[in-house]
Symmetry: C2
Subunit: 484 residues, 2 copies
Amino acid sequence: MKSFFGVALILLLASAVTAQRNSQLTAPYPPQLVAELKQLQEASMKSDYAWDQLAHLTNNIGPRPAGSPQANFAAQYVAGELRKLGLDVRLEKVVVPHWVRGEETASLVESPGMAPGTTQKIVLTALGGSVATPAQGITAEVVVVNDFDELAALGHDKVVGKIVLFNPRFDKQLAAVGHGGASYGQAVIYRALGASAAAKQGAIAALVRSVGGADYRLPHTGAMRYQADTPRIPAAAVTAEDADLLAYLVQQGPVRMRMVLSPQQLPDVDSYNVVADLKGSEHPEQIVIVSGHLDSWDLGTGAIDDGAGVVTAMQAAHLIKQLGLQPRRTIRVIAWMNEEFGESGALAYAAAHKNEVDKHFAAVESDLGAGHPAGISMAAPAMNMPLLRPAAQVLQSIGAAILQTTEDTETDIGPLLALGVPCFGPIQDERFYFNYHHTAADTLDKVVPRELQENAAVIAVLAYALADLPKDLQRPAPRQAAQF
Amino acid sequence: MKSFFGVALILLLASAVTAQRNSQLTAPYPPQLVAELKQLQEASMKSDYAWDQLAHLTNNIGPRPAGSPQANFAAQYVAGELRKLGLDVRLEKVVVPHWVRGEETASLVESPGMAPGTTQKIVLTALGGSVATPAQGITAEVVVVNDFDELAALGHDKVVGKIVLFNPRFDKQLAAVGHGGASYGQAVIYRALGASAAAKQGAIAALVRSVGGADYRLPHTGAMRYQADTPRIPAAAVTAEDADLLAYLVQQGPVRMRMVLSPQQLPDVDSYNVVADLKGSEHPEQIVIVSGHLDSWDLGTGAIDDGAGVVTAMQAAHLIKQLGLQPRRTIRVIAWMNEEFGESGALAYAAAHKNEVDKHFAAVESDLGAGHPAGISMAAPAMNMPLLRPAAQVLQSIGAAILQTTEDTETDIGPLLALGVPCFGPIQDERFYFNYHHTAADTLDKVVPRELQENAAVIAVLAYALADLPKDLQRPAPRQAAQF
């Protein structure tokens, strides 16, 4: 080991180098802007506004699936609260699908070593968009595959007339070290596309191991998509435990299962994005979106997905007003409708505003819960980094000073990114988010009040900094895939 | 701080004192017995026997509530497996109640801020023994109390015609520091006695906050008891989240809830304790019981409660046979029936064997899951400690060398303790047990294979040491309360 003085000298030199590099990489803000950002950060950490709004959305209104009366009631409620703040609020129409869950039960009716005359319960939940089984249910043998290759290897003869379980494991270790989103991404493809892949081989129903990290016999729902050219078969998620049980039993002999799902696809419903402007003083025509999505899945009350995103955006507007601040550009709070069931709110907004894309200076969305924030992610050219650094420095006292660039952004602002709008979001602790995601346990208690305040601070500081940024941002290249 | 040499000298002296005290407090075993105990410990850590049996009980047979065909099928299965080992097996009759769960649904039909025309789901599960609601359910206002004092303070006028929620919190911090059982003990009284207390004040149904530490919208069932002199009202456990929701809403205004429970109390059923003797070579008339209970709750598959207790007892017999060992006293493996629903198996055994109590040298039961064992607990006079210490020392290599005396013991051997039989069990990690206890998530995956082996090692070493103990144990004083 080096001597104390040697180590100290190295640290001193390193520190000088870092300071010099930081100053090169930082585009300073006017002192007043820094002071205002600090005010916002401090006020965010003292405010109960976001928490109280989240409690109301989740506890008083409850689950808010797209197309439900609760979702539209929530849109009216949020619009009313934003009007109370003095914002210019409108409801922009979005047509949403209206799928409603029905009965969902299943049991083993034959399996190795079973007591004669008995059955064993299987816990499952229909995937969003699934068709129903016949009223008497489906009773068939279960085959278990870990991936699409194993399904293909089985082939039509071993799959036809059966129930296919896709059993990919959610990588808990990857989530535990901070990459919950990556774990999710690896497994979710079977939830989204498994049913049609199974149907192509002649399966009459599809199951998927729940995409999530918990082990509390808790099924995770989520959207799935039928391919146009395959029969639409019922699809459900089983809990991790039930997937393990089925995988264990099929190795010993034939397993037959009965499942009943009675969801209904009702006629489409008129719903709304809530769009609320806090007018800019110098460039009112330039828009900085700050947003979350208001719809939730139907099983839980949508506290982490994505009540938290909506209320932190609301709190940003609340605090800017409360502190008497006036942003240079317009801050537009949006509570998106129907992120979960085909992102029709995002697409409707992009279509309605496509001729004003160049007036969208930036867009922010939070849609990964309310875990401790570590900083800000940016989907835009890296050369913008110095412009963000003073804002990040304001967030260092709450541990959120990291700046990262990402390829992609959250779903609702994805169409705007594709059109060339710089997009931003908080970097969050995602170790636990997917334990609760799309389950009945996505409820208010999963949010830690202090962490919600930290997230609200990131959103408020980020939104206000973007609105008052002394220079323009470099915009990302529009993507060819964007079609509206 | 003392100098290095000073500290070393103190440690050296302390170590000498400890060694001397330990030798005074240890009654040495014959070298051959120590060698045999080490063989058993090592073989336990290599064996898959307990795991495979646990997988069969939980996955192949499934939930085993008292009175169910699965419970009796499991008794036959365990008897068959123990016969395969060469034990002298009999099924001793136990009459058990047969309560079966039915529909259990609930929803808020009126609460502050609710969207017009909507309801919000409440997740609950009937308590074992609960009567049903009328077929159309009960719809009534909810009142929330934290304890019996608050119920009494409300009084008849504010409770009559309502649904009472008892909302005592399971102390998660106490569980986290290792005292899960104490947390459970503090809260479970409301599950057991809440319904009659509420009925006395005129309530028409009772709810209790689930007694457990998890936060996954998971209700914990369990037994409850009606008092003879009060109306029998339906009783259910709500999840922690639903309890929080109700407590939040009732502070804002009237909350009305509809609940439907349709459990049935069917006629009593003949069932069995499985009793299997591995005859002693010198004192075959002296009995050392090693046991767990075979019945489980109906929601999960009873891996931790208490498949683990049954299979570790089975593995003890398996390994003694496999190693060609012969205990001096008889080792009696018992798989108890109906611990959960009034312990009728334990009472039937005590009644049937009450004239042979003095032949019961000791009794062991494991019924707190399969968490890492830290040692052995003993409900018997502390002066027996030196007799157990050499056995504990054999377990030190797996971290299970602690010896502790306790006032009480596990339920099924409780009647024997009351009659003066020394009782023993493993000391286990109880930090997580009550997250899964009495829930649908009590499944095989909650058991860590290595920890099951460790527990099996403790049970095997303890049982064999007791069977070969060179001296008699001091017996606890019989308790007056014992009545059979």
